[in-house]
């Protein structure tokens, strides 16, 4: 029974806690902690002439005020550039508190610590910062052409420039191929800014133990191990003296993989200095102007194709707006440029991007991380080819698909992990067949005509994608079975709602043959597991899932060996069922794992009755061998790591039917269908939930969410009143179907699922609106007002 756990829709083990108010999120910790708040720049670009804190000193409950001048040593240096890249020739990062100059609205300038957050904000309001205003650089095209510089030593505001080119089979470059192609098209596409926007903002709580000279930091992060290393380095503390724990995290979606945020080093520093617990809980307005955004790109496309719609050559030039700093490097535009070919065999491909500084909030990955833009580009291109040739849009896609017998398929590009981009497996024709059936593609023209007779406009759209998931370098898992028979699993990466406590427990229970209830899982706690990368890029299930499976296999092997001794049997004849090791076919010759755990640890001192069996006078051990044999360790535990040769590649295809109001230009999604392939499923209920949530965010990105900066660099919609995340009333029901082509790259045959839902949505909705309206849709998101404007322009 237990072995069937893998692949079952097991109810989540996190839920009872989260449903009864017993979750522990960052702000729920440290009830007696002092509160930090920040004075943030109200200007997009300015020099700091003076900071006058005198008026704030009278605030009752004020504890401390810090500016850049107060920061010691390495804390006074710029924050790390996390992912260097040779093409990032002009990477720049911010200081934890602004030094002399601010480069976006929201940049932290002064940190205030007070008895509570109300008082800290009172003090912030009384601090006067004297700014000398500089001309702000806003908008990626403006920035690329502006004489005004975001960083004086970065000419042209260009942080990075990268070209990748894959020649055609006969060795010709994309430009040459396009020139000689039977058909060519050239156009421009725009994607606007959005953001992860988890409902819990960021937050940090730090506790300094002066007696022990140790620091414990809680952070609402997607990577506790890496925050730990950054904090230790910045504060000059020995690594073993720093612990970082990610408590329950109220959503991440990418913004919390960025680290160390200024607050993640400043709050622990203040806690050490003050000898008091200090906590900072980001509020919503701070989140809008100081946490990261994503998505904004301008793309220039040239494509050459034949009469069958086959893409012979594709050239894409991308202007990527990375905001004021590049702490996360150029991962986002790298992903856009390398995932752009999707499920297609492109004859010859040239992609070039420039990553540009602007006086806006920095850009780091948001769920999908550059892929929604890539898919928007590729899929809009497919639709344009179909329109140009008068072909069915699915036929053009089918004509370009990589075929099932072509895997592994090398796209000839270098991916975000610095490794060749080689697709492991997939079945795109089958995926398309399933999608067409699910949405009723072939019958749609009839429905459309019928609707038209009633004066209604409906349209159908499609989008296909391939998503590199499970990127390295590695994750680890540790599994320990204690003498009470409980199984303790830990892994270093963190959780933000993905249900890791459940799916990882399913893996462990299945591998070890123990009841699920006996397994507990801890994630994101450096006290339990110190080596990890983090939760991003749809990698947790692939990376930690496989690492935990491998660790379980070690433990299982050890358990069988010890049990074999105890049962005087051959380990190869043993099985584990419901936590009991027994000889296959003879259930009475058995020993519980709890006992095996006791026996695994030779004892001098008994701590309970069960433990007596392992003590030195209990007998049973051979005098010829040491109690712990060479190459062995005491205890029934195991640790292993999973480090893949390269990424796995999940894929999927979405289709939607939308209705546009002929008069009001309102856009309504009538149906939304998803065919998804992430290899083997650990827990289909959880995977389904990930898809639903991803699609909802995609709908936000397609129809509602945009960060609107004015020419002064002011974010005009820094609230939930005006940054329009969809409610239940805006999100369609998602119909799903699963295809499972297991990955050959890992023991469990799984690929990631976390980001899939969001990736093609803008492309799909654009495709459907275009079909309904007959007007080319070349920028997202699109509002009714935008559609109205397009109609006016077209008529």
């Amino acid at each position: 029974m237990t072995t069937k756990l893998f692949g079952e829709p097991v109810q989540r083990r996190e839920d009872p806690r989260l449903l009864t108010g017993r979750g522990r999120y960052l702000d729920d910790l440290g009830p007696d902690a002092l509160a930090a708040a920040f004075v943030r720049s109200p200007h997009a670009h300015a020099l700091i002439r003076d900071i006058d804190v005198s008026a704030a000193l009278d605030v009752d409950g004020l504890v401390a005020i810090y500016t850049w001048e107060d920061l010691p040593d390495r804390l006074a240096e710029p924050l790390p550039l996390l992912i260097p890249h040779p093409a990032l020739t002009h990477g720049r990062t911010a200081y934890p508190l602004a030094r002399e100059r601010v480069r976006h609205v929201g940049e932290p300038v002064v940190m205030v610590v007070a008895r509570d957050r109300y008082l800290a904000e009172d003090a912030c309001a009384l601090i006067r910062v004297d700014y000398e205003l500089l001309k702000p650089v806003v908008g990626v095209e403006e920035a690329a052409q502006s004489a005004q510089l975001v960083h004086d030593d970065v000419p042209g505001n260009v942080g990075a420039h990268l070209v990748q080119e894959v020649a055609s089979a006969d060795g010709r470059g994309a430009r040459e191929v396009i020139e000689s192609a039977p058909h060519t098209l050239a156009f421009r596409l725009d994607v606007e800014r959005s953001a992860s926007m988890p409902l819990e903002g960021r937050g940090v709580h730090a506790r300094w133990d002066a007696d022990d000279s140790s620091l414990r930091v809680y952070s609402s992060t997607q990577t506790s191990t890496s925050v730990r290393m950054a904090v230790a380095a910045k504060l000059g503390l020995p690594l073993p003296k720093v612990e970082v724990v990610a408590p329950d995290v109220g959503g991440g979606f990418g913004v919390k993989i960025m680290h160390p945020w200024p607050e993640e080093v400043l709050v622990p520093w203040a806690a050490m200095l003050l000898g008091r617990e200090v906590k900072w809980t980001e509020d919503r307005r701070e989140h809008f102007v100081s946490s990261a955004h994503e998505r904004a790109q301008v793309q220039f496309v040239r494509v050459g194709f034949d009469g069958g719609g086959r893409v012979l050559g594709l050239e894409v030039t991308i202007l990527h707006d990375h905001g004021a700093y590049t702490p996360y490097g150029i991962i986002v535009p790298i992903i856009t440029s390398t995932q752009l070919p999707g499920p297609y065999r492109i004859g010859s491909y040239r992609v070039e991007f420039s990553s540009i500084y602007t006086n806006t909030v920095q850009v780091t990955p948001y769920r999908g991380a550059g892929r929604p833009q890539a898919v928007f580009c590729m899929e809009r291109t497919m639709d344009r080819i179909a329109a140009h040739l008068g072909l069915d849009r699915t036929a053009v896609r089918a004509a370009n698909f990589i075929q099932p017998d072509e895997f592994p398929y090398d796209q000839g590009l270098i991916f975000q992990d610095g490794r060749p981009l080689i697709y492991d497996s997939g079945d795109y024709p089958e995926s398309l067949r399933m999608l067409k059936e699910l949405i009723g593609w072939d019958a749609f023209p009839e429905a459309k005509a019928e609707a038209a007779r009633e004066g209604r406009r409906i349209g159908i759209g499609i989008g296909c994608y391939v998503e590199g998931t499970g990127v390295g370098p590695y994750e680890g898992g540790h599994v320990q079975i204690t003498s009470d028979g409980r199984v303790h699993v830990s892994t270093g990466l963190t959780s933000q709602g993905q249900g890791h406590e459940t799916s990882f427990a399913q893996i462990a229970a299945a591998e070890l043959g123990v009841p699920l209830e006996r397994v507990s899982v801890v994630t994101g706690d450096t006290r339990r597991f110190g080596y990890a990368v983090g939760t991003f890029a749809s990698r947790a299930a692939v990376m930690s899932g496989n690492a935990i499976a491998l660790a379980c296999r070690k433990v299982r092997e050890k358990a069988l060996r010890i049990a074999a001794d105890a049962l005087e049997a051959d380990p190869r004849d043993l099985e584990i069922t419901d936590g009991v090791v027994h000889v296959a076919g003879s259930p009475h010759a058995s020993v519980p794992l709890a006992t095996v755990a006791v026996l695994s640890n030779p004892l001098r001192y008994a701590f309970d009755e069960e433990a007596v069996r392992a003590t030195q006078f209990a007998g049973g051990s051979s005098f010829d061998r040491p109690p712990v044999e060479e190459g062995q360790e005491p205890g029934l535990e195991g640790r292993d790591y999973y480090s893949p040769i390269r990424s796995t590649f999940a894929s999927g295809m979405h289709a939607a039917i939308v209705e546009t109001d002929p008069l009001t230009a309102e856009i309504r999604i009538l149906r939304y269908a998803v065919v998804h392939d992430c290899g083997n499923l650990i827990n289909p209920m959880i995977v389904e939930g990930q898809i639903h949530g991803g699609v909802a965010q995609g709908v936000g990105g397609a129809l509602y969410e945009r960060m609107v900066y004015d020419s002064h660099g002011q974010l005009l919609n820094a609230s939930f009143m005006d940054f329009l995340m969809p409610y239940a009333t805006e999100v369609p029901r998602v119909e799903t179907a699963h295809l499972q082509t297991p990955s050959p790259l890992n023991p469990l045959g799984i690929k990631g699922a976390g980001e899939a839902g969001v990736i093609p949505v803008s492309a799909v909705i654009a495709s459907a609106i275009e079909d309904a309206e007959g007007i080319p849709i070349d920028r997202m998101p699109i509002s009714p007002s935008d559609l109205f404007g397009l109609r006016r322009a077209a008529s």
């Binding site: 009864t20 979750g23 509570d116 409902l199 109220g250 959503g251 639903h692 409610y727 239940a728």
Partner: protein, 161 residues
């Protein structure tokens, strides 16, 4: 100069609680930080996200748009008060059964809202469910399983009544 404090009494989840709060203390902060009931979450502090929704004399309200002093003497139910002892309420159980939560941050607000919704309308239609939860944001689930959970909770309540 220290702020003037007001002594207030609230009946929270059936228990009489006293607190000393300044006039500006939001009910959300009072519950979380003065009374230690951190199950009520704060997601926007401008009344849009619904994470902080609690029941005031049985009616769902935004605790971030309510001053604690204003509701002196009134009854408050938070997520911590929805279960019957160790047994989760039908709404809580339905959310677990239907995978109606992921990160769980918005969940307490949904649970309070839905509890009141079903008390008033034990068998809501699809439209009534959507309207009922239309003031609560969730960034994880896409709402589909939340809607399913509301219907399922109605079913459980009907079965158990």
């Amino acid at each position: 100069m220290p702020e003037q404090a007001h002594e207030i009494t609230l009946v929270v989840n059936g228990t009489l609680r006293r607190a000393e709060v300044p006039g500006r203390r939001l009910l959300s902060d009072c519950l979380r930080h003065d009374l230690g009931l951190t199950g009520t979450h704060v997601g926007c502090e401008h009344g849009v996200c619904g994470c902080c929704t609690v029941l005031l004399d049985g009616e769902p309200v935004r605790s971030c748009l309510t001053f604690a002093v204003t509701v002196d003497g009134r009854e408050i139910t938070t997520v911590e008060g929805l279960a019957d002892g160790e047994r989760m309420s039908p709404v809580q159980r339905a959310f677990a059964e239907c995978h109606g939560l992921q990160c769980g941050f918005c969940t307490p607000g949904f649970l309070c809202t839905v509890t009141a919704l079903l008390r008033e309308n034990p068998a809501p239609t699809e439209e009534e469910v959507l309207e009922g939860i239309s003031g609560n944001l969730c960034r994880c689930t896409g709402y589909q399983n939340i809607v399913k959970a509301v219907h399922r909770a109605a079913e459980i309540m009907a079965e158990e009544s």
